[in-house]
Assembly symmetry: C2
Homo-oligomer: 112 residues x 2
DNA sequence: ACAACATTTTGACTATTCTATAAATATGGA
DNA sequence: TCCATATTTATAGAATAGTCAAAATGTTGT
């Protein structure tokens, strides 16, 4: 992960519709969701604007897709997300105990 | 953390200069850095543009500052960062083991 | 009080991103 | 083959964000 990839990913997430899409896909798991269902869950329409946002997330490498019949399923790219999170917290407090809690899986209630 | 706070934070981070500033402050620890030193570390100038970016990060709640003499020290807001990271990964894979590694402190080489 | 320093604010200009609409592509079924 | 469905692409206009230069604010030392 370099600064350019990271800013691209953050730009992609920095929009309410796209953040909703991404979070929904993170929650959906490795099966993903097809565009219409995804839009349905978010009370959005599967129109040109929605498609534009999917493309932004794809270009940033945060989501992937597969075609199944005439549906296209989008899936969160978990490794990409993890790289981004790691990049943000890298070398936190120069390695010294900083007295602040750093995010861990345990804090997100439901990790393997 | 709600969607609006999260998008504001992500927008703030979604710019190369601001991401550099933020990461540098994360690495600097709770003492923070004054503007001139911060700019120096990033090969940037402590000018109006730099100040604009500091304000964006402040407004998003990602950094704080304190005045010391005629210097202003900026400090990463660790709890805000952690809330953001948690928000992005919340309910990952709907609680099912997803087979993907989720970011943990252990992966960032240097956590308390 | 004055001068120098550190940083922020303002305002005008440019660039980038978002939305809306319409048309295009691709797939599956009758 | 033809039609309906699912989704993307293209284009133009509207909205938002970023940069630059200059002036303003607040602080310290003399």
């Amino acid at each position: 992960m370099d600064i350019e990839l990271a800013t691209n990913a953050l730009k992609a997430l920095a929009h309410e519709t796209r953040l909703r899409i991404f979070r929904r896909l993170v929650q959906a798991g490795p099966e993903g969701l097809c565009v219409a269902d995804l839009a349905g869950h978010l009370n959005a329409e599967a129109n040109g604007s929605f498609s534009f946002h999917l493309k932004e997330l794809s270009n940033a490498g945060l989501i992937r897709n597969r075609q199944e019949g005439r549906f296209i399923y989008y899936i969160a790219n978990y490794p990409a997300m993890n790289e981004l999170l790691g990049y943000l917290t890298e070398h936190c407090c120069a390695g010294e105990p900083c007295g602040e809690q750093i995010h861990t899986c345990a804090t997100t209630e439901n990790n393997p």
